[in-house]
């Protein structure tokens, strides 16, 4: 995002909307105006969409690769070329009744880098991806972040992407149920080595009682499961066939 310093009247209305705290004030030839710290800005578009600028001074330049990564991961209105899904992830459990992506005996595990609200730089994301790759997890191929992993065995990410920062990026995996404690342990370990935050979640095909075998196993190993969550009601048709 950029601010036209000629137009800006320095009213400050846009500043609080910035998700990354990247809007600051400076003086150019005696005039005080707002400016965007481009290093920290993730091109999420929130400041512009807020429609608070009285003089239309905010504008989003069209960026080429690799800067374009920021917008596609941070602005939910930008559609990923790879998935055609707007936003940062896949359809995940939302359509599982129809797609059958998560089968009994398997668990979907997602590490949502930069959530909530801190954003994540690519080298931080790479650290977590590498820690997970070392365990031999299967990264979700339809997830846009997976397309930035150049070596799925080591978790090495595209070197040209390394200077980029995103509002959030979801590392999405499918793992056998019995691997949940091992993978979560690795996630917990790498959490201590990064300079940002992530949110973690588990998806399971519901058991007979409507409960999540993945979450039950995580709870057995001492992980705190939040009281709120998401339930797919199974009303989609055709229902996925399960073997």
């Amino acid at each position: 995002m950029k601010i036209d310093s000629q137009k800006c009247v320095g009213c400050g209305r846009c500043q609080h909307y910035c998700t990354m705290g990247a809007i600051y004030f400076r003086q150019t030839m005696g005039k005080v105006h707002a400016a965007v710290n481009e290093e920290e800005c993730v091109d999420c578009g929130v400041c512009e969409r807020a429609k608070v600028c009285p003089v239309d001074a905010l504008y989003q330049p069209i960026h080429d690769w690799p800067r374009s990564i920021r917008g596609t991961f941070s602005n939910p209105l930008a559609e990923h070329k790879e998935t055609k899904v707007p936003g940062r992830g896949t359809e995940e459990m939302k359509t599982n009744d129809v797609t059958g992506r998560y089968r009994p005996g398997f668990v979907g595990l997602a590490v949502e880098m930069g959530r909530p609200g801190t954003g994540a730089k690519m080298p931080e994301i790479e650290k977590v991806v590498m820690a997970l790759a070392a365990l031999g997890v299967e990264f979700e191929t339809k997830n846009p972040l997976t397309s930035l992993i150049v070596d799925r065995k080591t978790g090495k990410m595209h070197p040209e992407a390394m200077n980029e920062k995103v509002l959030s990026a979801i590392i999405e995996m499918l793992i056998p149920l019995d691997q949940v404690p091992r993978v979560l342990q690795a996630v917990k370990k790498v959490a201590a080595e990064i300079n940002t935050v992530f949110s973690v979640d588990l998806t399971s095909r519901a058991d007979e009682n409507g409960l999540s075998p993945g979450a039950l196993l995580a709870a057995e190993h001492g992980y705190k499961i939040s009281i709120n969550g998401k339930t797919n009601l199974g009303l989609g048709r055709p229902l996925a066939r399960e073997v």
């Binding site: 707007p86 909530p116 979560l184 949110s199 409507g210």
Partner: protein, 213 residues
Amino acid sequence: MSHTLHRRGNEENLKEDIIVFAMSAKGINDKNSKDKLQHFLRIMHRHHPVNMGDMKTGNLFSAGAENIIANVQDTSIVHAVFTSKEEVAKVIKEVKEADLGISVIVSGIMTDVHQICGQVGIKPHTVEHSLGIMGKLSRLPEDELLQITTMCGHGMVSSRLARKMLLEVKRGRLQVEEAAQKLAYPCVCGVFNPARAAKILSQLVDLWCLDEF
């Protein structure tokens, strides 16, 4: 894209925060799903949600209900937010009877959602749980602000805006409801719950001392 999963809060305020949403599966049942998604949204609208939306069009405050419904596409994800499980039970009953054949997801306190499923005769198909936040937790704002900002899972509601709105209410420049609506505005999917935000803000107004930041 678990945009409604990681809402922070406690039992008291999360019980008034239930999101019902629907989408079709790409390449399987998405063709001509637009009518079904519109039908779904009309059911939602009849039950007076506190917010609703479709990312491609906007939310109740930025776009308005009629606009949201009129602009639904086959690829839309359509949402509505409610504050009582009794109302959601009625909503889900109607959705089930409409037999639309699209995926329907409910976000809320798990035991409440399961109770609703039991009442309506639905067996949950797939469940997703949050394991919370890990990493450099010192970079996070106060949890009270996170309870507000995490109502937009895409991170469109800045904690700076939440702090600013609280300050405006404290100064008497905005009513809590107005401040909550301003907070709901950037959440393009319409999953932000302004009623819950207003309650949280009114509790904080008495408790918090704030200066300019």
